[in-house]
């Protein structure tokens, strides 16, 4: 491949930021927990270093996590909290380097060319960044140490890997000398592509199975072979392995009116008004860019107030930012700005400057058929709702499979799904899983299962032996304040998952029970069919035939 220019970047990375943010928020309420895990959709998505050392892993269920680490404090997922907590770090860093990029809370990227020359070299810059971040985090956690890493290298991927390496080891920072990126990456397993460059895990797993286990193997391949096997992704993984950016930078002369600026006639204080306007401006910009055949991957958003305060931030999205995504970034930036009390009056100016462009992979519409009016309306409404509520509040279902009704469908944000095309795909329950409950399935599946006590006729707790046999027939169920009589029951059906993996294995039994409210003297009493699960000696009501 011909000579490529890659920008030299510095990365400050605090992995599992969600858990650290939750920990810091608890600390602000004068509570301190060493072991904190953040749960999303009943799975651990982040945990603190101490919890990790106790064996809490990403992807565990609540009960598994609590069984390996009993003192674990569980926090709910809250992207807003993550962003706002991180803002104090970002603000501290932007006092040294004004323009930084925060693509996800917990990771700051910045171009080092200017700052390095200003402070006198990459080493000194890394030291300064480390010091600033350390002080900012210490302020959040009242001086308790929070692990993070600083990395400087050519290209995003190498810098992220370097920062992560610095985090994992005791080093404070890792600086990869210019031109050394490819050599530094060559030894690493291909899984870093999924961890740090958002390459699909299926692709990474396939690469691994094809015998390409480290990035050096990918560099040795001819790009044309990779493209032949994987399509456009093949070229991307090759570029990444060589230490370049994922997409070739566009070198043609930029369109003359690239930046789009909106001046408000009166200063606007309402964030919703700013975001709504931002959406309109973004629409124009995206249309303009797509007419040129490009989409924007890095966007510089600049806002100014009446009193001359200014907020600059870079945003990055490897797939290209849509208009809704741009407006959402404006909302985040403005919320952070308000939270840090950086602005004292209304906004008068909003400017988008697309700084990173990539060729747009156009979409060929069907000649006939295709989307209907209803599909278009729905797609438009979904975009609007995403702008109003955030991407995580508007979701669509995707079949994933599983024995549990709660995990058979995954919910993905509608913003990342092509809504106008979605109606053509069919989302169906595929072949029944062995070990799943027989159909019909319960129509109410509790997000938070209810703890229950199941007793037999003599008032003793019902348990199940190692051979999945009940010790007594269930007669009574107590859930919270309510007592129910068991009218009929079926099961127990064993669930044994991943018995080969000591950390992620799951052993439980499921039962169906028909319950009637105890002591209900009215003529017609309602009966409820429910699904009860016994796991780790505790009964839970997980679903109801509502």
């Amino acid at each position: 491949m011909d000579k490529q220019i890659t920008t030299r970047v510095a990365v400050i990375s605090c992995t599992d930021w969600q858990a650290v943010a939750a920990q810091c928020e608890l600390n602000s309420r004068k509570q301190w927990f060493d072991a904190v895990a953040v749960l999303h959709a009943q799975r651990v998505v982040a945990r603190t270093a101490y919890a990790a050392s106790q064996g809490v892993q990403i992807g565990m269920r609540r009960r598994e996590a609590q069984s390996v680490c009993p003192e674990l404090h569980i926090a709910t997922n809250n992207p807003e909290r993550d962003r706002l907590m991180f803002e104090s770090v970002v603000r501290a860093v932007s006092e040294l380097v004004p323009l930084v990029e925060v693509s996800t809370p917990g990771v700051i990227l910045l171009a080092t060319r200017g700052p390095s020359r200003y402070v006198g070299g990459d080493e000194i810059l890394a030291q300064r960044l480390h010091g600033i971040t350390y002080d900012a985090l210490a302020l959040l956690a009242d001086g308790r140490p929070i692990a993070f890493g600083v990395g400087i290298a050519d290209g995003r991927l190498t810098a992220l890997v370097a920062a992560h390496a610095a985090h994992a080891s005791a080093d404070r920072y890792v600086v990869v000398e210019p031109g050394e990126s490819a050599r530094c990456l060559a030894q690493l397993p291909v899984s870093v592509l999924a961890d740090f460059a958002e390459i699909d895990r299926d692709v990474v797993s396939l690469l691994h199975r094809l015998g390409l286990s480290c990035l050096g193997d990918l560099v040795a391949m001819k790009p044309s072979d990779l493209v032949g096997r994987f399509g456009p992704v093949g070229l991307e993984v090759h570029r990444l392995s060589c230490g370049f950016d994922r997409h070739p930078p566009i070198t043609i002369a930029p369109p003359p009116e690239r930046a789009s600026t909106h001046r408000f006639e009166l200063s606007v204080e309402d964030i919703n008004v700013v975001v709504a306007t931002a959406r309109q401006v973004a629409d124009e910009l995206v249309t303009h860019l797509s007419n040129q055949g490009v989409s924007c991957v890095r966007l510089h958003v600049c806002m100014q107030t009446d009193h001359g305060e200014q907020s600059d931030r870079l945003w990055y999205q490897p797939e290209g930012l849509t208009a809704a995504a741009m407006a959402e970034r404006v909302r985040w930036q403005m919320e952070a700005w308000i939270a840090t009390r950086g602005l004292t009056s209304g906004v008068v100016l909003l400017r988008y400057s697309p700084v990173g462009l990539r060729a747009r992979e156009g979409r060929q519409l069907g000649l006939w058929g295709g989307s209907t009016q209803a599909d278009e309306w729905a797609a438009r409404t979904v975009e609007r709702l995403t702008t109003m509520l955030g991407a995580d509040a508007v979701r669509v279902a995707q079949w994933r499979g599983g024995r549990d009704v709660s995990e058979a469908f995954a919910l993905t944000p509608a913003a990342v799904v092509d809504m106008e095309r979605r109606a053509e795909t069919v989302v169906v329950k595929e072949a029944a899983w062995s070990g799943a409950l027989p159909t019909p399935s319960p129509s109410i599946v509790y997000d938070e299962p209810l703890l229950a006590v199941v007793n037999d006729a003599s008032g003793c707790v019902v348990s199940v032996s190692g051979r999945h046999e009940l010790n007594a027939a269930p007669a009574q169920v107590v859930i919270g304040q309510h007592v129910y009589t068991v009218m009929s029951w079926a099961g127990p059906w064993p669930v044994e998952e991943r018995w080969w993996d000591p950390l992620r294995q799951r052993r439980a039994v499921r039962m169906q029970m028909v319950l009637e409210r105890h002591g209900d003297t009215s003529v017609r009493t309602a009966t409820h069919a429910v699904v009860m699960v016994l796991e780790h000696g505790e009964w839970w009501m997980t679903a109801r035939y509502g």
């Binding site: 979904v382 509520l389 508007v394 979701r395 329950k429 027989p438 599946v445 009929s488 069919a529």
Partner: protein, 191 residues
Amino acid sequence: MSDSLPVAKALEPIIPDGVLVRGRTVLCSGDAAMSTALLMASAPTQAGSWLAVVGVSDFGLVSACEQGVALQRTVLVTPTSNKKDWTSTVAAVADGFDVVMLEVPREVSESDARRIQTRIQARRNVLVLVETSRHATRRSVFQPDVVLHTMTTKWDGIEHGAGYVQGRLVDVTVSGRRVPRATQHVLQHVG
């Protein structure tokens, strides 16, 4: 745009007029509220309408799929807990979806409910309210055109330690503004 949306075969004799008339509000309550609401949404989504499920906690996706709801035309929306935002969210949803399924939070006032119903009538959608037993004690702030109150009388297939839940018999009491005299029906439900 036609005046009505189709309704599942099992519900045809139960729903007044045998179709879902656009602009109307249907309330499903009782212990089989959720599955009745899912059954109601199945035929319209299969015929090409979109369904928005707003704030329905514990929505059983597998069951929805089994009852015939076309999940490729279903979007799940989680509104913020803020009351003002809730109303504007539902109003925004009504702009783009034919069928809006809603679980009404406790703090919604009657005037908000009236505003939403006016919006539904103007946009000619169908509003399906689901009242799971959690807030069943409270009188509805909405003025539903049709109320389906359900009560399971018999569970099929499950015995003392044998079988599994295969179906059920549900007594449905139909009332509401558009129903001059309340009627009783028996519905053979699968979910």
